[in-house]
């Protein structure tokens, strides 16, 4: 009866293919029985039950007593995972990257710290249901472009509005670290001196910005309590205060070794918190990162090596290298607008890391709890633990295997609509070939 019910729900969704409807808040407690529970925090619990109510996980035990108000889901042989988390993304800020009017991730200007991602997050993006139906339930959506593109927001893959969908804002202030390379090719259009100037200026401007924020804060903190005086607010400087004071982290995008080193030294001299985003050369500076307690959000494992000499497995083996060295890291997909639809392949980036040495539980952690830790939300999401948000999914196998199907997603305790634009089109055109007598069955 119970399984039949869930089957019916899925079937209905296929029949009435339409836009996906956010589910109402959870009122019925849901008990998933006999699953293989990948907690993400304390190993795998085989043949366990998990109960959640009002959006929160309330119990995980070998056997939870069923009570009549519960919706019970039999999950014998099925795998239960915490919702996957993409550390950086532009999902929701772009629909079709090549159609510029659908792009909302790059504000004009070199430094636009005041802009925040979640306000232009489109909860009706056709991509969101596609991404979540592969188990990716959270993305940290970010602005891009310029030196300081603005602030990112952690979004949940369901909700009527961007406000519903916001898990946490702001996550971080993003900085694109200046290119440290000097092109010494004699045919280079920009002279070496000019390049060195540009590089120096970029850093000078960044430091001036930090300095302005500090002076601004001092000014605002010491405004005369009484009397008439002129006040002029600066939204950008205002937005920077929590980062400059070290309350929240800067997410510094840096790939090349010289960028990473420079960013770490900068964070020390400025006494600010940073996370390295990208980090393709992070394997060359593991000691530096570890000693300074700087985490890394690795951008893509499925990518080409940095240099012609680099080993073919450089990118695949990097997570294991960081793990061995004790650097805190998580794995993310690309943050590019072009690839914003491909957040759904997040588990396969972790899978490749596992194939090249990273222990399987660490691979899963790198897209769940580690990501939550780096994003500062590990008290709420990232693992299946009592008291955490019930955003999880049921799969028919190992989520790190491509052939595995995600069968049902629960976001904040609600049963998520598993249909999406792509499934709708699939069923529409299957129907065409059924009508033509080319295929039979469903």
């Amino acid at each position: 009866m119970r399984t039949l019910l869930s089957f019916l729900v899925i079937a209905l969704q296929f029949t009435f293919a339409s836009d996906q409807i956010p589910a109402p808040p959870q009122v019925t407690p849901i008990l998933i029985q006999n699953g293989i529970i990948h907690t993400g925090s304390h190993g795998v619990l085989d043949q366990y039950d998990i109960l959640f109510d009002k959006g929160t996980i309330t119990n995980i035990e070998a056997s939870i007593t069923v009570s009549p108000e519960m919706q019970v889901i039999e999950a014998s042989g099925k795998h239960i995972y915490p919702g996957l988390i993409a550390g950086i993304s532009t999902l929701g800020l772009v629909e079709i990257s090549d159609v510029s009017v659908t792009n909302d991730y790059n504000e004009v200007g070199e430094m636009t710290p005041e802009v925040r991602a979640n306000v232009s997050y489109n909860p009706d993006s056709e991509k969101i249901p596609v991404v979540r139906s592969n188990g990716v339930l959270f993305v940290n959506t970010m602005p891009t472009g310029g030196r300081i593109p603005g602030q990112s927001s952690l979004m949940r893959m369901d909700g009527w509005t961007w406000e519903d969908a916001t898990v946490n804002h702001p996550t971080a202030m993003h900085i694109n670290w200046p290119d440290m390379k000097i092109n010494t090719n004699p045919n280079s259009k920009i002279s070496i001196e000019q390049q060195e100037d540009n590089r120096r200026n970029a850093l000078v401007e960044l430091n001036e910005m930090m300095d302005r924020v500090r002076r601004y804060k001092k000014m605002m903190d010491n405004l005369p309590k009484e009397g008439v005086h002129d006040i002029a607010h600066d939204l950008g400087l205002e937005a920077m205060i929590p980062y400059v004071t070290g309350t929240k982290p800067f997410f510094v995008h840096a790939h090349e070794v010289r960028q990473i080193e420079a960013a770490v030294h900068w964070s020390n001299s400025q006494k600010v918190k940073i996370v390295i985003i990208g980090g393709w050369d992070a394997g060359r500076v593991t000691n530096l990162l570890k000693e300074n307690h700087i985490p890394v959000i690795l951008q893509e494992v499925l990518r080409l090596p940095m240099r012609r000499n680099s080993h073919y497995s450089e990118a695949y083996a990097l997570p294991f290298k960081l793990y061995k060295a004790g650097v805190s890291f998580c794995i993310s997909t690309s943050g590019s607008g072009f690839q914003s639809a491909h957040v759904r392949d997040l588990p396969y980036h972790a899978a490749m890391a596992a194939a090249f040495g990273l222990p399987a539980d660490e691979a899963l952690r790198s897209i769940t709890l580690s990501a939550a830790e780096i994003l500062g939300v590990d008290d709420r999401i990232g693992s299946l633990d009592v008291g955490k948000e019930a955003s999880l999914f049921i799969a028919n196998g190992d989520i790190l295997e491509i052939t595995t199907q995600v069968e049902q997603v629960y976001i904040n305790g609600t049963t998520t609509d598993m249909s999406d634009k792509q499934k709708t089109l699939y069923h529409k055109y299957r129907e065409k070939y059924r009508q033509l007598g080319i295929i039979r069955g469903n």
């Binding site: 092109n183 280079s188 070794v257 240099r307 073919y312 072009f338 295997e401 491509i402 052939t403 295929i439």
Partner: protein
């Protein structure tokens, strides 16, 4: 710094033979005997204590016992060595675009009629520089264009007398500046222009001949001076002299020369040693620049990372290139081309000689060889009676840098070489003046010297140091008796002595002397022995020392074999390979006697080598997009066998790829199906027998040319462009056929012109060339099917075809395959309806489906892309794997040889550590033609080898002297996140300069 020309010139000579005399006649006698000289009459032959008679610019007697003519001026050479004047094999002259006329070629880069000597202007400074290295003649070439024009030989004298006005046709792989709208704008188009133009010249010559015979039967053809000149050059077997920037370009030039039976000369690149045997086989004459790379700046490890191994190796190996060419029997000459200043020439040549280049061979390359090649062997290159008096006079051997070049003679006129140009100023002199003695030390580069004077124990810095020729001036504050305050010094350097005067603060002059000069160590050559490194193929990381062996027999024992053939999946079966072919697949095969390789298959999975049906790997140029139809261009002309992606893809089990032209225009160029035979040359990559193909493109990439508004701008226009092209092709074909009929016995009519663009389309119409059509939306897919059906040909496959699932029944009916992305979508408007179920749904509806990469990264894990066929749409596992093996092979019509494991097929297979669709499996071995191109073990060995080479080279570089010349860091890696490349239409994605 004007040099003194000792003897007046132009007493006679060609120039004055026809000019009327203006006033009074001046005669300067031009009869000399150069006595007491060591005469190098030709390479390998010299006469010590000899004399040379020169009469009016021509050499008379040469020998140790000659009679001095009564009218001769005798010059005692003081034992100097005399060589025949050197010939610089490639000096570019600045040309200027001329007014184009109806007789010009249609393309502004094609002007073979230009003559370099017409543009040559005498530039004293440049001539002085060349003289200072011993050059007396130059082979001048026009500086711009694809067919640049004709070269000439010019004497390095003030009159710039022309020895030979026309020597060769100069060509270059010219690529226009980025952003140009003119055709050609990519290397692909450049090579097509090279080919079409020579075909045109053949047609032009033939047409002219026919017209001359049958003027009554033909319309006269338009005069074209370019085609005329080229036709004559070919009829005369004139050399075609092609500029190359690397060894791959040399291979391209060789292929081109072979196609048109040209006498090939090359301007070398210095990289010839990397593909020496290929080049030696073709045996072109090569003019070599000696522009050795600067020292890599590896002062900090981060920066060192940016240098590629092949760059570091080149630093060490470049000076040995010439001797390798000579040893392999190639005929070479030298040029100062590519040097920052011609004055580096001698130093670099001496370096090569010290490292093993034979002196006689070097001398031949400067004298007899270029003289012979340039048609001057009866007058130039030797010191012999009747030869022109072009001479180089050196204090001793030319190949010892401490010997100064004293003078050169051009046509019997002497040009002194500015002393000082060879001065080795940094060093130490014993200094004495007015009873004081001490040490004068100079350091730094000659252009930027500093120094100090040590007298007794006091060290006085010298200031205001200035060198002008062999004059040196400076100041020093001696504060000594007779020398209060600052003293000025002015000296003249000659060999190891400096003589001059010091002027004290009162204006009194004192002679001073510097003796026993000892050159500073810094000026000693330090890279004096040949590199001990050997070449790998391709040069750089992971290159192979030699082609992997093909063992006679290989037995794979007890493996799980996914055949991708009728046998399906076989558990615990064996596969026997004999001589590169699959010989047998059976449950239990007896190990053959003397079996060479046994692969223990237990726990392993064997699949056919993966085939990527849509790739842009290993191509230097992707898209010639300056015209809407470019079916004349060919990927096989621009293959780059050293693309590291070949190796990376082997490491992911990929063995065969279809390298396609880009999608910037409706009808693009020919594709090339290649096997990833890492280490092979471009030719060796080609899968012999693969059906030829061509790229078409529809939709967004084609219709909106971002820079230039060009037809088409709509999908409506795309259709008409294609219909127009095929209509033209059909007409052309009919004209060819009717001409063949009409002219079966006697050619009385001008033939239709051979058109490479239309030839390819006629092949499509004849079903001989496969159409690979880039398309996304269903409307355009249907459009092309309809056009093809109207013209009665078949589209072999659609690329990407993201909406193929909407019209699968039409694809199946037409017989078109679909080569899709597994799950890409939503990056362009036309991909918004893309679904990952596309592959499975088309497959279910009877379409032959493959998954492709279109990307160097995805191409190395296509087995995992295949797994998405199972996830999205529920394909069976073997059907899914077939999407990257046998289905791709069938689409490319290469399934006779590859794509599945079946008896008789090529032994292209992969050994996987586990289930081929599992993310946790890795490729353990990759074999092509029964040769192991990748294995985890071999990879580890290569990695260690490269690490050690790198370590050693870095030590060697750190230990070497700074020559003030810094090699650029490797260019920034290509966008590793190839977002925008997704089959877009970048003209030259891998600009070849970036590959070194």
């Amino acid at each position: 710094m004007k040099k003194s020309i000792l003897l007046a010139i132009f007493a006679s000579g060609l120039f004055c033979q026809t000019a009327p005399l203006v006033d009074i006649l001046h005669i300067t006698p031009r009869v000399y005997v150069l006595s007491n000289a060591h005469v190098h009459t030709e390479p390998g032959k010299s006469i010590p204590q000899a004399s040379i008679v020169i009469r009016d610019g021509i050499i008379g007697e040469v020998g140790s016992k000659i009679a001095v003519p009564a009218d001769a001026t005798v010059l005692d050479m003081g034992g100097a060595h005399i060589y025949s004047g050197f010939i610089d094999g490639w000096v570019e002259v600045k040309t200027e675009a001329v007014q184009r006329t109806s007789r010009s070629h249609w393309n502004d880069l094609v002007h073979p009629e230009w003559v370099a000597s017409d543009y040559y202007t005498y530039d004293e400074g440049k001539v002085d520089d060349l003289h200072s290295q011993g050059f007396t003649q130059i082979h001048v070439v026009p500086d711009d264009g694809i067919f640049r024009g004709q070269s000439s030989i010019i004497d390095l004298n003030a009159k710039a007398s022309i020895t030979s006005p026309i020597v060769s046709q100069i060509m270059d792989y010219k690529i226009r500046e980025r952003g140009s709208s003119e055709y050609p704008r990519a290397l692909l188009g450049t090579i097509a222009v090279m080919r079409q133009t020579l075909y045109d010249s053949e047609w032009y010559a033939e047409s002219h001949a026919i017209y001359a015979k049958y003027p009554d039967k033909n319309e006269p053809i338009t005069e074209n001076v370019s085609l005329d000149v080229l036709g004559k050059a070919r009829a005369d077997k004139a050399p075609f002299f092609i500029r190359t920037e690397h060894e791959t370009a040399a291979s391209r030039a060789i292929a081109y020369a072979r196609e048109f039976e040209l006498k090939l000369w090359l301007l070398g690149s210095g990289y010839e040693y990397r593909r020496l045997s290929d080049i030696a086989k073709a045996n072109p004459f090569i003019v070599l620049p000696l522009n050795y790379p600067g020292k890599p700046d590896i002062s900090n490890p981060q920066r060192a990372l940016q240098y590629r191994i092949e760059q570091l190796k080149h630093w060490d190996m470049a000076p040995d290139n010439a001797q390798k060419l000579v040893k392999s029997g190639l005929s070479i000459a030298f040029t100062t081309e590519g040097l920052k200043s011609p004055k580096q020439f001698r130093k670099n040549l001496i370096l090569s000689v010290q490292r093993g280049l034979d002196e006689d061979a070097a001398l031949a390359a400067l004298t007899t060889t270029p003289a012979k090649r340039f048609g001057l062997s009866k007058t130039h290159g030797k010191i012999e009676t009747g030869y022109h008096a072009n001479l180089v006079v050196v204090d001793g051997s030319y190949f010892d840098e401490s010997n100064a070049i004293k003078s050169v003679w051009v046509k019997g006129n002497k040009y002194d070489i500015e002393p000082g140009s060879g001065l080795l100023l940094p060093g130490e002199w014993n200094f004495s003046m007015n009873g004081m003695s001490g040490l004068l030390k100079l350091k730094g580069k000659p252009s930027k010297l500093s120094g100090a004077l040590t007298i007794d124990t006091s060290v006085i810095d010298i200031k205001n140091l200035n060198v002008d020729g062999n004059q040196m001036t400076w100041t020093a504050k001696l504060d000594a008796e007779d020398f209060p305050g600052i003293t000025r010094y002015s000296g003249k350097v000659e060999n190891d002595t400096m003589l001059g005067f010091a002027t004290n603060s009162h204006g009194d002059k004192f002679p001073f002397e510097g003796t026993n000069f000892k050159a500073a160590e810094a000026n000693k050559i330090i890279k004096a022995s040949a590199s001990n490194l050997s070449v790998v193929y391709p040069e750089g990381a992971y290159g192979f020392g030699n082609t992997p062996d093909q063992p006679h027999s290989i037995l794979i024992d007890n493996a799980t074999i996914w055949t991708s053939g009728p046998q399906g999946i076989l558990k615990d079966w064996d596969m026997l390979i004999i001589d590169g072919k699959i010989s047998k697949i059976a449950r239990d095969i007896k190990i053959p006697a003397n079996n060479d390789v046994l692969i223990d298959g237990r726990g392993k999975f064997i699949t056919a080598g993966i085939i990527d049906a849509h790739s842009h790997t290993a191509a230097a140029s992707i898209n010639e997009s300056a015209q809407s139809v470019t079916s004349e261009v060919r990927i096989k002309d621009v293959l780059v066998p050293d693309d590291i992606s070949i190796y990376r893809q082997l490491a992911g089990g990929t063995t065969t790829i279809n390298v396609l032209h880009g999608s910037g225009n409706a009808i693009g160029g020919h594709n090339a199906v290649i096997k990833l035979r890492w280490g092979s040359n471009a030719q060796g990559l080609l899968l012999e027998g693969a059906a030829p193909g061509i790229k078409f493109a529809l939709g967004e990439n084609v219709k909106y040319d971002r820079y230039f508004k060009r037809y088409p701008q709509t999908r409506m226009g795309v259709e008409q462009i294609i219909r127009d092209a095929f209509t033209r092709a059909r007409d052309y074909d009919q004209n060819l056929k009717s001409y063949a009929k009409k002219s079966r016995w006697r050619k009385t009519l001008i033939p239709p012109r051979k058109d490479l663009e239309l030839d390819a389309l006629v092949e499509v119409l004849d079903g001989k060339r496969l159409v690979n059509a880039h398309a996304y939306q269903q409307d355009e897919i249907l459009m092309l099917l309809r056009v093809a059906e109207d013209f009665d040909f078949r589209v072999a496959k659609f690329e990407h075809v993201l909406e193929g699932y909407k019209v699968a029944e039409r694809l199946a009916e037409h017989g078109a395959g679909g080569s899709s992305f597994a799950d890409w979508w939503a990056y362009k408007f036309e991909t918004y309806d893309g679904i990952p179920y596309n592959g499975a749904l088309m497959h279910e509806a009877g379409v032959l489906v493959s998954f492709n990469s279109d990307d160097d990264e995805i191409a190395r894990r296509l087995n995992l892309e295949a797994a998405k066929g199972v996830k999205y749409g529920g394909m069976s596992e073997i059907d899914a794997l077939n999407m990257v093996t046998i289905n791709s092979a069938k689409q490319l019509k290469i399934d006779k040889w590859v794509g599945s494991l079946e008896e008789g097929k090529d032994a292209d297979f992969v050994v996987w550590s586990g289930h081929p669709l599992s993310t946790q499996s890795i490729c353990a071995e990759t074999w092509i033609d029964g040769r192991q191109y990748f294995s985890l073990q071999k990879d580890a060995e290569l990695r260690t080898r490269d690490r050690l080479i790198r370590q050693d080279l870095i030590q060697k570089i750190l230990d070497s002297e700074d020559d003030g010349n810094i090699a650029p860091e490797a260019p920034a890696p290509l966008s590793t996140n190839k977002d925008i490349i997704k089959c877009l239409w970048e003209d030259d994605m891998l600009r070849e300069g970036g590959l070194k």
